[in-house]
């Protein structure tokens, strides 16, 4: 029997508290749920504890602190891989592989820290804390959430626990376990407004779609298990094990990884399992921010990133390039598709959702390319190739980081907008109730006072908010810029890297022209839809009365926006610190290459003055497309001055002015375009959801009804037929007892005769 004691093998006293990063939120889940159930509605609970929000906050803060300690330990020790705990022998069993021995098998739990862990751990714990802060401002001020916020916080912390656990786990199995817990929380949180049929259906859709991916992930894991006899990273990534597998069953390994990738596709909402993500916006905005932008969708990326050692393994050289291509292509296709759909979305959060999809696709492309490079280049021995691979992989991870920060911020900012629009509407509505004769004619479209008919998320109901919500607008601006890849801001650094690497690969392998083209076009598209969103929301004149009455937001909401704006803007510092290097390879460490200033200069130089002429041109094409073509079109269509008397903050003024100028100069009528078949198709999400629904109804439901019918009529019918058959047989048999003694005597005589003849015959 294996040991169940967990003996810490720590380097420092802080490390032994690492499991608390997971356990604290998990316990907080129970505590909040329990207290919430008991004290629901109690004023102290409501006011002072924010219905659990202020229990969750310190817990998340503690998780962050512990994470930071862990991270600093890791960086200090500069140790490549570290398994902090001896595994807890979770499941012990055995398998028989022929022969006369049973091989013991143990599925254990432990904590594993390496560069990828560290990066994602920071992202997750940092964003969780910020979003927790934001939630207090967002959730607790909305009357619709009264007396059910404890549920939100409980599910929220459980989600955080799942995310942190997934990052820290030391095996693919436990990755999967926490992955599923996140799936559950996502389900619960999307269905937070359970009374809305759309939320219920969205929750179901999210869980089911990701579950389909999970099924393949599970098969992949099982296959991986069979190859390695374990799912522990330490075993799976050990070079000698990979070599052994590579020698025999590289093809199987590619299948296993490919199936696992399907899981990632589901979780990260890539084509064709992307349908759940836009619907998931039914959840409260912090949920959208947290789960569906910043963290959970990263799980798929994390999983793929975790596969890197296979791609990078020397013994698997050239064996996995097909899979790398698939990963990159799925990313490329999704990037363009999602961006295109984002063009026509009116719902603020839906735009962001498609943007998320698109950006995740970028990261997938980046990962795919990095993996292709790692798999085809001789990077173990060639320093130059080594550098290329590391930077490619690092760029993808860096984009993950940037995107998480930016998108988290964007969602929070959009939440802030929606929150305030909603408030404003509520206020007006309230106002109108008491003064029926006043104001009705001012907003005819919305004279129906039912909340259902007013969509606080629609950009049609916004416009010109830059002056009313300066912080939000700024955050949104910075976030959008980061996503668009405007030079020097946040995502620029990583996005350029991804595009460059895609083309680098395309140079080697023409297949990769597809993703490479996609990401390049996608850059322009990103530029367009992100700008469109910003200008429609913040520039121009208020679209209606409600938008005109929007006020500034509260501190709980502002704080995280502020912090994240700062983080996004300071992305260059991360880049300068060599993020792309140490996040992707163990050989590099924090600031190991050069000091910060040199690093920044190096990055600048590398980005804008690349010595390779191909990449030099490429960079400027990308910048041109992302920073000029896209935004330019958007400004032409949607730009405009603020309303009279409104004034934006100075750093936004030029942009709004620029947009007004563009709008004046280049405005064109896009009605024809908007009413084209393509636009309709895009508005209907390219009909993919419809096809899926049809498939569900016609094929799955039809089939299951047939099977249920068969079950009832054929299988159970047989039983019933036996029953009724024996009953009718019984009737026949009984009818032979006619009641006439003559017949009875006849039967006796017949029996006698039969016996007589039988015996006569025998004797």
């Amino acid at each position: 029997m294996a040991s169940k004691e967990s003996a810490p093998l720590v380097h420092s006293e802080w490390m032994q508290f690492a499991p608390l990063i997971i356990l604290l939120p998990m316990m907080a889940f129970a505590v909040i749920l329990f207290l919430g159930h008991i004290f629901n509605g109690h004023p102290f609970w409501k006011k002072n504890l924010k219905e659990g929000g202020l229990i969750a906050l310190p817990v998340m803060a503690a998780s962050l602190v512990l994470s930071l300690l862990l991270i600093s330990e890791f960086l200090k020790g500069n140790s490549g891989v570290d398994q902090i705990f001896e595994q807890i022998a979770w499941v012990n069993t055995g398998v028989w592989n022929g022969g006369s021995m049973i091989e013991p098998v143990s599925l254990g739990f432990g904590i594993y820290v390496d560069h990828i862990t560290v990066m994602l751990l920071f992202v997750a714990s940092f964003l969780c804390l910020l979003i927790n802060t934001f939630s207090i401002g967002y959730m607790n001020t909305d009357p619709i959430n009264d007396n059910r916020n404890h549920r939100f916080y409980a599910e929220f912390v459980l989600f955080c626990s799942g995310m942190l656990g997934m990052v820290l786990a030391d095996s693919f199995l436990w990755l999967f376990i926490f992955w599923e817990i996140m799936g559950l929380c996502s389900y619960l949180l999307i269905g937070f407004y359970y009374e809305r049929p759309s939320a219920a259906s969205a929750a179901k859709k999210a869980f089911l779609t990701t579950r389909i991916g999970d099924v393949f992930l599970m098969i992949g894991l099982v296959m991986l298990w069979d190859l390695f006899g374990s799912l522990d990273y330490a075993v799976v990534f050990a070079t000698e094990n990979i070599d052994a597998v590579a020698a025999e069953s590289a093809g199987t390994l590619q299948w296993a990884l490919g199936l696992m990738f399907i899981g990632a596709v589901g979780k990260s909402a890539q084509f064709p399992l992307h349908v759940w993500l836009p619907d998931a916006m039914e959840g409260p905005t912090p949920v959208s921010a947290l789960i569906h932008a910043a963290t959970m969708v990263n799980a798929g990326l994390y999983l793929v990133a975790r596969m890197f050692p296979f791609f990078g393994a020397e013994s698997l050289h050239g064996d996995l390039d097909d899979l790398a291509f698939v990963i990159a292509s799925i990313g490329g296709i999704t990037a363009v598709m999602a961006a295109a759909i984002a063009f026509v979305q009116m719902d603020l959060k839906k735009v962001l959702a498609y943007s998320t999809m698109s950006q995740l696709a970028y990261i997938f492309t980046g990962l795919g390319c990095a993996m292709y490079l790692a798999n085809t280049l001789d990077w173990h021995h060639n320093d130059k190739d080594h550098y290329i691979v590391i930077v490619a992989f690092g760029a993808a991870l860096f984009h993950l980081f940037n995107h998480a920060m930016a998108k988290g911020m964007l969602f929070m900012a959009s939440g802030s907008v929606i929150h305030e629009v909603h408030h404003a509407h509520h206020h007006l509505h309230h106002h109108d109730d008491h003064h029926d004769d006043h104001g009705d004619d001012h907003h005819d479209d919305h004279d129906d006072h039912h909340d259902d008919h007013f969509d606080a998320q629609s950009m049609e109901n916004m416009g010109g908010l830059a002056s009313k919500m300066p912080i939000t607008a700024t955050a949104m601006l910075v976030g959008s810029a980061s996503i668009m890849g405007l030079p020097l801001i946040g995502g620029f650094w990583s996005k350029e890297g991804i595009i460059a690497n895609a083309w680098r690969v395309a140079q080697n392998d023409p297949r990769f022209l597809l993703p490479a083209m996609c990401v390049l076009i996608g850059a322009a598209m990103t530029g367009f839809y992100m700008s469109r969103m910003w200008f429609k929301t913040f520039a121009g004149k208020p679209n209606n009365e409600v938008a005109a009455h929007v006020g500034p937001t509260n501190t709980w909401i502002k704080t995280p926006l502020f912090i994240l704006t700062f983080v996004t803007l300071s992305s260059i510092i991360f880049a300068g610190m060599g993020f792309t290097h140490w996040a992707s390879d163990t050989e590099y460490s924090f600031l190991s290459e050069r000091n910060l200033l040199d690093g920044i200069i190096y990055e600048m130089d590398h980005a804008f003055a690349n010595s390779d002429i191909f990449f030099f041109i490429l960079t400027y094409i990308a910048i041109f497309m992302g920073a000029i073509v896209g935004p330019g079109l958007a400004m032409a269509l949607y730009g405009g001055k603020l309303a009279e008397g409104e004034e934006a903050k100075p750093w936004m003024r030029p942009i709004i002015a620029l947009s007004a100028w563009f709008n004046d100069r280049f405005h064109f009528d896009n009605t024809a375009l908007r009413e084209s078949t393509l636009a309709t198709a895009l508005e209907n999400r390219l009909y993919i959801d419809e096809y899926y629904d049809k498939a569900m109804i016609n094929i799955v439901a039809g089939f299951s009804n047939k099977v249920a019918e068969t079950d009832a009529e054929v299988i159970d019918g047989t039983i019933k037929a036996i029953e009724s058959g024996s009953q009718s047989l019984s009737t026949i048999v009984r009818s032979m007892t006619t009641g006439s003694a003559r017949d009875y005597i006849l039967m006796v005589a017949v029996g006698t005769l039969a016996l007589f003849l039988l015996i006569w015959g025998v004797a």
Binding site: G739, I745, V748, G751, I759, A763
Partner: protein, 574 residues
């Protein structure tokens, strides 16, 4: 096994050997005399002196009690039963009663004792529980003495019961086929009248007539078979016949004789196709009598078959085949299937029980077939008759415990019958509400009949199946150990009888359960909501049946041993 003691009629040891029968005889006399006792006097001719001689006249209160004959009969039968049980506890002897010319007439041994136990037990229970049953109107919730038949009519009934017991015990003891036949006829005639006893009812007489007329034809055939055997062997002594069979038993004449006799007994055990009158008879007769038909009378028929087939026409060829084996096997298969199928759709609980009794006859015939199929060559079977003993044990055990749960079921119906009929399943409706313990008792009888553990019926069925399988398996185990390869077809075909039996048990659950469902689920019929007719006697009898069913089911070891002993005593050769 003790030595055989030879006793002449009325010689030494005669009384102790035939004690139960003599008790019956005494009881019979009492039954005839006692109800007639009164203040009758005998005037000495020519004088005025009236000597009270007690016969006739205005009867005493006690002798005019309509329950008196029932008490006498019950005590008689009961003490005969207890006497048999006592004999078992004292150890068995083997006593042959011979005629003056030295011919074996009666044989008292464990085998016959077990059957006596069955007969007396069943009849005692039936007599005791029909104490309040013979009512003038046939219906009445509250039984008072005025509603019962007067005690002369009562006496008729119980006299017939006792003669029936006497006839049956003659069958059990007989060592001469003709003596056996006479006993059989005595018992049969008694049952014919018992069935038709309620001559005031249409169904009563009708069932009596059918039972009588079909039974008479069957026994006519049987008697003709006897005459053929006699023509062939010159004697109907078992000892003589078995020797004759061993020498030249494969000729047509004796075999056809055996076949004809089979018809006579077949009717008694209600084997298909001779069973047709049985459901009608059971349905028309009052329930205790039907219960007797289904248990004691059936046991008598089985006894005859055992005697005739296993003693007289014992299979002697080394491969264990006897000419009658296939006939009996086919009969068993048809009987059990027919009975179960017919019972499946029957709405009349008494008919249902009748058909179920047909099915049980099939099971027993299957067991009997298995005995016949036993490999009689000890060199091959290697178990010195143990397998045959096992099947015979199972058969006896089944017959014994059948008394408990089949008669018990009829007794429950008897209570409903005295309330106004039990000819529809719905008349059992709501029994669980009206009298829960009675419903529980009926439930126990039903699942015991179905062969659900832990009731006696399960154990008996298990024993039968085990016996059959053992015969079928035979010595294959040993040959497998020697490296032989077997397929299913290598097992003796009687294995398929066990299989059929198992399937039939499954079918039978359906109709037994239906009774349970009606009792526990349905509402009472209109007009039957009130309490059931009183009468502690019948309830006591039912209690005895329940206790036996459960107790034997849980701890049947003693009874199995008794039956085993009896089976061994059937034939020394085993």
């Amino acid at each position: 096994m003790s030595e055989t003691t030879t006793v002449e009629a009325f010689g030494d040891g005669f009384i102790s050997a035939l004690c139960p029968e003599l008790m019956l005889f005494a009881g019979l006399l009492l039954l005839i005399i006692v109800p007639n006792l009164g203040r009758g006097t005998f005037r000495i001719r020519g004088t005025q002196i009236r000597v009270p001689w007690l016969l006739g006249g205005s009867r005493f209160k006690i002798t005019s009690d309509p329950r008196l004959p029932a008490w006498i009969a019950s005590i008689t039968l009961g003490s005969a039963f207890l006497n048999v049980v006592y004999i078992f506890s004292q150890g068995l002897e083997r006593v042959v009663i011979v005629s003056e010319s030295g011919k074996e007439l009666l044989l008292v041994n464990g085998f016959s004792r077990v059957f006596e136990m069955i007969f007396f037990g069943a009849l005692a229970l039936a007599a005791f529980s029909s104490m309040n049953r013979l009512q003038v109107k046939g219906i009445g919730a509250h039984v008072s003495e005025h509603e019962l038949y007067n005690n002369r009519r009562q006496a008729d009934f119980y006299i017939l019961m006792v003669t029936c017991a006497l006839g049956m015990s003659v069958v059990a003891l007989a060592q001469d086929l003709f003596v056996l036949f006479i006993g059989l006829e005595l018992a049969s005639f008694s049952t014919y009248v018992l069935v038709a006893f309620l001559k005031e009812s249409k169904v009563g007489v009708e069932s009596g007539m059918k039972y009588f007329i079909v039974g008479s034809v069957a026994s006519g055939v049987g008697l003709y078979g006897l005459s053929m055997l006699y023509l062939w062997a010159g004697s109907l002594q078992f000892s003589v016949l078995s020797v004759a069979f061993a020498e030249s038993g494969t000729t047509a004449l004796p075999l056809i004789g055996i076949g004809f006799v089979l018809v006579g007994f077949g009717f008694k055990v209600s084997a298909a196709p001779f069973h047709f009158a049985a459901p009608d008879a059971y349905a028309g007769a009052i329930s205790p009598v039907a219960g007797v038909l289904a248990t004691a009378s059936k046991a008598m028929g089985m006894l005859g078959l055992v005697r005739m087939l296993l003693i007289v026409a014992a299979p002697e060829s080394s491969d264990g085949s006897a000419v009658w084996l296939a006939c009996l096997g086919a009969m068993a298969a048809i009987t059990m299937t027919w009975g179960n199928l017919a019972a499946l759709g029957s709405d009349n609980p008494k008919r249902m029980l009748a058909y179920s009794s047909v099915a049980h006859a099939g099971y027993m015939l299957a067991a009997l077939t298995a005995v016949g199929a036993w490999n009689w060559d000890a060199a091959v079977s290697g178990d010195a008759g143990a397998a045959a003993v096992a099947v015979m044990t199972a058969l006896l055990f089944h017959l014994v415990v059948l008394v408990a749960f089949k008669l018990g079921a009829f007794l429950v119906l008897s209570i409903l019958e005295s309330e106004g009929g039990a000819s529809r399943l719905s008349s059992l409706g709501g029994l669980a509400k009206r009298e829960p313990l009675l419903a529980v008792a009926m439930f126990i009888f039903m699942i015991s009949l179905a062969g659900v553990p832990p009731m006696a019926g399960f154990l008996s069925k298990l024993l039968v199946i085990m016996g059959i399988v053992r015969i079928a398996v035979g010595d294959m185990g040993a040959e497998i150990a020697d490296g032989g390869v077997f397929v299913l077809a290598d097992m003796h075909w009687v294995w398929w009888l066990a299989f059929l039996m198992v399937i039939n048990s499954a079918i039978s659950v359906f109709y037994y359960l239906r009774v349970v469902v009606v009792m526990f689920f349905d509402e009472p019929e209109e007009g039957r909501e009130g309490p059931l007719p009183s009468g502690w006697q019948v309830r006591l009898a039912i209690l005895a049946c329940v206790l036996t069913t459960v107790f034997v089911g849980i701890a049947g070891d003693a009874l199995i041993r008794i039956c085993e002993m009896a089976a061994q005593s059937l034939n020394y050769g085993w």
